[in-house]
């Protein structure tokens, strides 16, 4: 009886901390979701600079008209982009709140299910609900975080450890005896790697993130992309193992999973390095040209724009077909003749 009471108290304590934590998360999310105080007060003092604008007749009416049209287009583009950003920000806030409410409800229902039912299935079901709830709340919070490079790099690491903690909690609640890695068959090993590494990634990519920065598709060969990601994965696991080897913290289950992942990624590395070497030797020029074209995309756009501005005369002749190249000059000649 005492044992039962102890376990009930323990569950109550877990439930209490979960609710307290979720309330804290909701509070933080609402604080982040609120508009900044600077946007509320419109009585800002502006730093005005005085100047005189004089009207001047244009020397070349045609060129000025073109320039004006281009300026108007740029202004319209900027306005549209600003409007889109505002809409995205609003959508982000709404989704953040939706994720938080959804996550909180899941956590509450999951905790109640675990508390009131003692079946293995209900415990597993409740644990999964808590897992989804916590992930949902964190997803809502990350929607409000900035898209700076540092934050972007820290968030996945944080999500990995959060996911690991939640999976450990689920395994503890459903009383799964974790076997040593050497005794596991390939299927069980793969399941552990999937749940620890792939599942959080899938959850994160399936749910929209509303990134305002446009992702440029890489034109690197797929073997090169896999190799690069594999190296990052190896480095990540190696760092974790090195930290755990210091014996400052004892996380044997994490050590087991990261070692398993490291061993698996070494096998993948053997294959990918072979494929990448073959690809690198076989088509170095064509591939590198494609990559350089992508990397210098902005530079190319700017160059084309400059060329348009400066006129056709300085454009390289070999880039154009003869008829097309002289077409504008023929039209101008015809217009002159008509006059």
């Amino acid at each position: 009886m005492l044992v039962l009471l102890d376990s009930a108290n323990y569950l109550l304590e877990v439930y209490f901390w979960l609710i307290l934590g979720s309330i804290l998360l909701v509070t933080l999310t609402i604080i982040f979701a609120r508009p900044a105080p600077s946007q509320l007060n419109d009585n800002n003092e502006y730093d005005l600079k005085e100047g005189i604008v004089t009207e001047k007749a244009s020397d070349d009416h045609h060129a000025n008209t073109e320039r004006k049209e281009i300026d108007d287009k740029e202004l319209n583009k900027e306005e549209i982009e600003e409007e889109q950003e505002v809409l995205i920000q609003q959508a982000k806030k709404q989704w953040a709140l939706a994720f938080t409410i959804f996550g909180l409800s899941f956590m509450t229902v999951g905790s109640i299910v675990i508390y009131f039912f003692e079946y293995t299935f209900t415990t597993f079901f409740g644990s999964c609900m808590i897992y989804v709830g916590v992930m949902s709340i964190v997803k809502g919070m990350t929607l409000q975080l900035s898209e700076l490079g540092l934050v972007k790099k820290i968030v996945p690491i944080g999500i990995f450890f959060l996911n690991f903690g939640l999976i450990s909690l689920i395994l503890y609640l459903i009383e799964v005896d974790i076997q040593p890695w050497m005794m596991m068959d390939t299927g069980i090993r793969s399941s552990y790697l999937f749940v620890i590494y792939v599942l959080p990634y899938l959850i994160w990519t399936i749910v929209p993130s509303f990134n305002t920065t446009k992702e440029v598709k890489s034109t690197y060969p797929w073997a090169s992309i896999i190799l690069k990601n594999n190296l990052k994965f190896i480095l990540f696991n190696f760092i974790i193992i090195s930290i755990l080897n210091l014996n400052l913290i004892s996380l044997p289950f994490l050590r087991q999973v990261t070692k398993g992942a490291l061993e698996f990624s070494i096998y993948i590395l053997m294959i990918t390095v072979l494929l990448e070497t073959v690809a690198f030797i076989r088509k170095p020029k064509a591939t590198s040209n494609e990559i350089d074209q992508t990397e210098d995309l902005d530079a190319k756009i700017t160059t084309d724009y400059d060329r348009t501005e400066e006129g056709l005369a300085i454009r390289d002749f070999y880039e154009e077909e003869e008829n097309e190249y002289f077409s504008t000059e023929v039209i101008e000649q015809e217009e002159k003749n008509d006059r």
Partner: protein, 182 residues
């Protein structure tokens, strides 16, 4: 050579360095842990005198049963025991911290007193150990075959020799063998 080619070439070189560093049994002080492979249920290993063989068991916790057997052939058993002579091979199951201490040739401990009975010497000629229930503290463990590792200076003659050992090891939940005949 373009920047992208440099990057790709660099990735290939880094990958090759990693592959070289992670070759199993490569004697490198810094990679003492992460290049160790996981143990197999049964395998033949080679142990050199004044050295050791180690592999990773993984995460162990709670009450478990442990079966450890060496070579099944009786004649080979006797040969193995004879070859030990005054320099027995110690079979150790060490946790992370103790393994590090062992590797660094410092004093180390065992997590359970029963683990001290794993040693093979002239008194233990059947070379088979069976613990139906053994309480193992939650930790990450290594299986080590130590043949006088670090005692080269103390030995009268420092001639190295190698020994092939075939082992079989099983860890199961304590109730596993009751329901399934071994």
């Amino acid at each position: 050579m373009t920047d992208s080619n440099w990057k790709r070439g660099g990735n290939i070189i880094i990958a090759l360095i990693i592959l070289v560093l992670t070759i199993p049994d490569l004697d490198m002080p810094y990679t003492k842990n992460y290049n160790l492979s996981f143990c197999s249920d049964s395998e033949v290993i080679e142990v050199e005198r004044f050295d050791f063989f180690a592999c990773e068991i993984g995460y162990l916790e709670g009450e478990m049963s442990l079966i450890l057997q060496l070579i099944s052939s009786e004649s080979e058993n006797w040969g193995l025991v004879d070859s030990f002579g005054d320099s027995p091979i110690n079979i150790l199951i060490l946790n992370q911290q103790n393994y590090n201490n062992f590797y660094d040739k410092e004093n180390y401990d065992v997590s359970n007193i029963e683990f001290l009975s794993l040693n093979i010497n002239e008194d233990n000629k059947d070379l088979s150990i069976n613990f139906p229930i053994i309480d193992i503290p939650s930790d990450y463990y290594f299986l080590v075959f130590d043949w006088e590792y670090g005692k080269e200076d103390e030995a009268d003659y420092a001639s190295t020799s190698t020994l092939d050992i075939s082992y079989y090891i099983q860890f199961r939940d304590s109730g596993y063998w009751e329901s399934r005949p071994y």
